[in-house]
C-alpha cells in the first residue's frame, strides 16, 4: 500500500524521493514495506485502521548538512517531515507522525558525542546518541559522571529532553528539558541556528549558560515543531560516592499533608532524589469493605479508613527517600529527614533502607528487597544504569487483567505538590469512574481510590497517572473509551490539571484545554509557525500547532 503525503501527487512524490536520495544517498531513503514497518507505532490505538499514522517514507541523514538538504527538498515539494531521534518512545506514539503520509527524518545516524566534560559536567550530543551510548562512553573514559535516563533507556537525551521527558535521580537532572543546555537547530528555511551562548561563536559556555542574551527561543523546540534539533547540550550529575534510602510511613490518611510538606522541603533544598510515594494498604483492596470505602463516591470516610488501616497494623501512606553524596552526608541528610518528618508528623515512623557505595553492583541493582521490605524505587534508573527490562512483560500471561495494562493511553496529569491536590484528584477520578461506569487505571492501582498517589518525577510538581487498559484485540479504541478519555481530560482541565505530554493521536485534544484567553497560546504559536515555516513542512500538528497549509487537519488526526 503506497501512502502519499497530503496534497502531493504520486509523480511529485517520486520526484521528491529522488531529490531526497540526492541529499542523503539512495541507501538512506526508505520506502519498502518492511522499512516503513519499523516506524509504525506498535501500541497504536488505530493500528490497521484507515487513519493509522503511517509515514510515506523515511530519510536518514548523517550530517547537519544533509538535514539542511532534506529540509530544502521538503520545502520544494511541500512534503511534511516528522523528525525523530530514535523514535522509540512507544508510550507516546513512537515514530508515528501527526500527519499521515509525512516523511520521517530519522536522525539515528547522527551519533556523535561531540564533547563530554567530566570536570564541568556536561555533554554535547547529536540526536542519534542514546542513553546507552552516553553511559558507555562515560564508563569507557572512566569519568565520574551519571546520566539520568528514562526507563526504558533506548531513547536519546535529545529526543527525551525535547519531549520534556523525565528521569529518576536528583531533581535538577530528572527534568530533562531543564537540564538541557544549548541547542543547534535546522530551521524550516534550512538555516542553522544556535541558542543560548551558542549564538556567540567563540563561546565555551554553550553548555553552561543556557539563556544567552535577549529572548531565548529554545523553548519553542521542546514539544514543538519550529526546527529540527541537530545538537543538544546535556548537564550531567557528578557520580556520587554513596547511595542511601530510607522510608517514612504515616498512620493516617490526613498525615499525607505533613508527609508532602516534609518531602517538598527536602526536595527543594536538593537533599533528596526522586521521592517515591506509595501505600502499604494495597492488599486490603481484596477486602470488600475496604475496597468499598477506598473507592466510595461522594466523600471518603477517613475515620473508617484509618481504623481499617490500624486494624491491619499497616501505615496508610509512605514515601521512600533517596540520598546521593558521601557516606557521611547521605547519613546526615537521612537523619535530618527523619527528624523533620517527626516534627511534621509526630505519629510517623522511619525505616532505614539500603546503603551502598556507588556504583552499585548488578546484584545490588536487582535486589528489590531492602531492610524495610520491598521497594517501589526503579533502582536501575535511580542509579542511572540504562536497561530494557520493561519490555519483558510483552506477551506474558497475567492472572488478572487489572494487573496488566497492555495498551494504554497514559495521562500524566500535572498537579500541585500538596495533599489537598492529591485528595482532590482522588475524589474527582473516583467520582468520574462511578458516573461513567467505566474503567480508569491509575499508578499502582487498577482503579482510582484513596491509594492513588503522585509521581514526583518532576522537581516542582506532581504527576498523577491514569490510563486505559486495552488489549491488542480490542483495537481500535471504542467510542466509549474515546468518550471516557475526553471526560477525564475535561474533568482534569476544569480543575486546572493538564497533561505534560501526549501522543500525536491526542495532542489536539490535550492542547485544546490550554485555552486561556481564547487560545492565545495557540494563536501565538501558530503565528510564529506561519512566519518561520511558511510551507508548514516541519512536523505539522505536533504539540497541537498547525501551520496554515495543514490547519484543516486539526482535530482529525487518526480519523
Amino acid at each position: 500500500m503506497t501512502i502519499l503525503p497530503p496534497n502531493v501527487s504520486a509523480e511529485q512524490f517520486a520526484s521528491a524521493l529522488r531529490a531526497f536520495e540526492a541529499a542523503v544517498g539512495k541507501d538512506w531513503v526508505l520506502t519498502s514495506e518492511t522499512d516503513i514497518a519499523g516506524y509504525r507505532d506498535p501500541w497504536s490505538m488505530v493500528r490497521d485502521q484507515p487513519g493509522e499514522l503511517l509515514p510515506s517514507a523515511a530519510v536518514a541523514p548523517a550530517t547537519v548538512e544533509e538535514v539542511q538538504a532534506v529540509v530544502r527538498v521538503a520545502n520544494q515539494f511541500k512534503v511534511p517531515l516528522y523528525a525523530v531521534s530514535t523514535g522509540k518512545n512507544y508510550s507516546y506514539g513512537g515514530a508515528a507522525p501527526n500527519v499521515r503520509g509525512s516523511v520521517i527524518v530519522d536522525l539515528k545516524r547522527m551519533k556523535r558525542i561531540l564533547e563530554l566534560n567530566g570536570d564541568r559536567n556536561f555533554a554535547l550530543v547529536e540526536p542519534g546518541v542514546t542513553y546507552f551510548d552516553l553511559y558507555q562512553e562515560i564508563q569507557s573514559r572512566g569519568l565520574k559522571l551519571m546520566i539520568d535516563n528514562p526507563d526504558p533507556a533506548w531513547g536519546s537525551p535529545s529526543g527525551n529532553s525535547l519531549e520534556r521527558g523525565v528521569g529518576y535521580t536528583m531533581g535538577p537532572y530528572r527534568d530533562h528539558a531543564s537540564s538541557s543546555c544549548g541547542l543547534e537547530v535546522v530551521l524550516a528555511s534550512g538555516e542553522i541556528m544556535r541558542t543560548g551562548m551558542g549564538a556567540l561563536p567563540a563561546a565555551e559556555t554553550w553548555q553552561e549558560y543556557k539563556h544567552g542574551f535577549g529572548p531565548d527561543p529554545a523553548g519553542l523546540f521542546f514539544q514543538g515543531n519550529f526546527g529540527i534539533v541537530t545538537k543538544i547540550g546535556v548537564r550531567l550529575m557528578p557520580l556520587p560516592e554513596h547511595y542511601r534510602t530510607g522510608k517514612i510511613t504515616v498512620p493516617k490518611r490526613a498525615d499525607l499533608g505533613g508527609l508532602i510538606k516534609t518531602v517538598n522541603y527536602l526536595a527543594d533544598l536538593f537533599m533528596v532524589g526522586e521521592p517515591v510515594f506509595s501505600s502499604a494498604l494495597h492488599p486490603l483492596m481484596k477486602n470488600p469493605e475496604f475496597f468499598a470505602e477506598a473507592t466510595r463516591p461522594g466523600e471518603f470516610n477517613d475515620e473508617r479508613l484509618n481504623a481499617m488501616a490500624a486494624a491491619a497494623n499497616l501505615p496508610f501512606y509512605q514515601v521512600e527517600l533517596q540520598f546521593y553524596g558521601s557516606d557521611a552526608t547521605t547519613l546526615a541528610n537521612w537523619e535530618y529527614a527523619k527528624d523533620l518528618a517527626k516534627r511534621n508528623i509526630p505519629g510517623c515512623s522511619a525505616l532505614d533502607g539500603v546503603s551502598y557505595t556507588m556504583p552499585l553492583t548488578r546484584e545490588q541493582i536487582m535486589d528489590k528487597n531492602t531492610p524495610y521490605g520491598e521497594s517501589a524505587i526503579r533502582r536501575y534508573a535511580a542509579v542511572a544504569t540504562p536497561n530494557l527490562t520493561t519490555f519483558d512483560f510483552i506477551g506474558r500471561h497475567v492472572e488478572s487483567p487489572d494487573d496488566y495494562v497492555h495498551l494504554h493511553y497514559g495521562m500524566f496529569t500535572i498537579v500541585p505538590r500538596s495533599a489537598e491536590s492529591v485528595f482532590q484528584v482522588q475524589r474527582a477520578w473516583v467520582d468520574l469512574v462511578h458516573e461513567a461506569n467505566a474503567t480508569l487505571v491509575t499508578e499502582q492501582t487498577p482503579r482510582p481510590s484513596v491509594l492513588t498517589l503522585p509521581l514526583q518525577w518532576h522537581q516542582t510538581c506532581f504527576f498523577m497517572w491514569a490510563g486505559f487498559p486495552l488489549t491488542v484485540s480490542e483495537r481500535p479504541m471504542s467510542e466509549a473509551l474515546a468518550d471516557m478519555l475526553e471526560r477525564v481530560l475535561t474533568v482534569n482541565a476544569k480543575n486546572g490539571w493538564g497533561e505534560y505530554r501526549s501522543e500525536p493521536l491526542l495532542q489536539d485534544m490535550v492542547a485544546a484545554h490550554y485555552n486561556f484567553n481564547n487560545h492565545a497560546l495557540r494563536r501565538f504559536n501558530e503565528a510564529l509557525k506561519d512566519a518561520v515555516d511558511p510551507n508548514g513542512i516541519l512536523s505539522p500538528g505536533r504539540g497541537g500547532i498547525w501551520p496554515k497549509a495543514f490547519r484543516s487537519l486539526r482535530g482529525k488526526v487518526g480519523s
Binding site: 544517498g25 541507501d27 538512506w28 519498502s32 514495506e33 518492511t34 522499512d35 516503513i36 514497518a37 519499523g38 509504525r40 506498535p42 501500541w43 493500528r47 548523517a62 530514535t86 522509540k88 539515528k108 545516524r109 551519533k111 542519534g128 542514546t130 546507552f132 551510548d133 553511559y135 558507555q136 564508563q139 533507556a153 533506548w154 548488578r362 541493582i365 536487582m366 536501575y380 544504569t385 540504562p386 536497561n387 530494557l388 527490562t389 519490555f391 519483558d392 512483560f393 510483552i394 506477551g395 506474558r396 500471561h397 497475567v398 492472572e399 496488566y404 497492555h406 495498551l407 488489549t471 491488542v472 484485540s473
Partner: protein, 196 residues
C-alpha cells in the same frame, strides 16, 4: 518432568552498553552470498531455547543468553559484531526479546527474514506453530515436522536453509504480542538479516 513454562523467577539485566548503530553505511549492506548465521540468542529461562542453543554450538554458532533484558547482549556483544560485519542473527526468545532485538537490529540495518510463533501448552498438547518467512523455508519447516523431528530440530533445519537462499523476503515488524493464555507459553524464533 520439567514444566514447559520453566521461567526462572527474577531477572538478570544489563550493565555497561555500547553503541548500536554502525557509523558507516557500507557496513550495513552485505552481499547476500556472504551471509552466515553467526549468532544465536536464546532466553535461558526456556528449556526449549536452551536446548536449541546447545544444538547450535557444534555448528559453530555463537550462542548468547538473555533473560529479561536483551540490552546487555545487544550493546556489548551483538552490536559491535554487526558493525564488524556479522550479518545474520537468529534467536529463540520471548516476545519481549523479539521486540527489543528486532528493533535494535532495525536500527543497525537488519530486517526480519523469519519470525516463528511457537505456542507451547503445559498440558502436553502438541505445540502450534506459525512461521512467517519465505514459502520455501516454511515448507521446509513443515516437512521437517512431518518427518517426526521436534519443532526445535525443525528450526535447526530451516535456519541454515534460509541463510543459504540467494535472496529471501523480509518480514515486516509485526504488531505486539497479545498476552499468553493461562498454561501457555509462546516462544518466538527469528532471524535478522541485512536489508534486502
Amino acid at each position: 518432568m520439567a514444566n514447559r513454562r520453566q521461567f526462572l523467577g527474577g531477572s538478570i539485566a544489563g550493565t555497561a552498553l555500547l553503541s548500536a548503530f554502525p557509523a558507516r553505511a557500507g557496513t550495513l549492506l552485505t552481499d547476500s552470498a556472504h551471509k552466515t548465521l553467526s549468532h544465536f540468542v536464546f532466553d535461558e529461562r526456556s528449556i526449549e531455547a536452551r536446548q536449541l542453543a546447545q544444538d547450535m554450538k557444534p555448528i559453530g554458532v555463537t550462542t548468547l543468553e538473555i533473560q529479561s533484558d536483551a540490552s546487555d547482549v545487544w550493546y556489548k556483544k551483538l552490536a559491535p559484531r554487526v558493525q564488524a560485519g556479522a550479518n545474520v542473527i537468529g534467536g529463540l526468545t520471548t516476545a519481549g526479546g523479539l521486540f527489543t532485538l528486532t528493533r535494535l537490529g532495525f536500527d543497525a540495518g537488519l530486517r526480519l527474514a523469519l519470525h516463528g510463533q511457537h505456542r507451547l501448552f503445559d498440558d502436553g498438547r502438541e505445540a502450534e506453530h506459525v512461521l512467517k518467512t519465505s514459502a520455501i523455508v516454511a515448507r521446509s519447516f513443515d516437512a521437517a515436522l512431518a518427518s517426526g523431528l521436534s519443532w526445535t530440530s525443525a528450526l535447526q533445519v530451516v535456519f541454515p536453509d534460509l541463510v543459504s537462499q540467494p535472496t529471501a523476503d523480509r518480514v515486516a515488524l509485526g504488531d505486539i504480542s497479545s498476552p499468553d493464555a493461562a498454561r501457555q507459553t509462546t516462544l518466538h524464533s527469528w532471524i535478522l538479516m541485512p536489508r534486502a
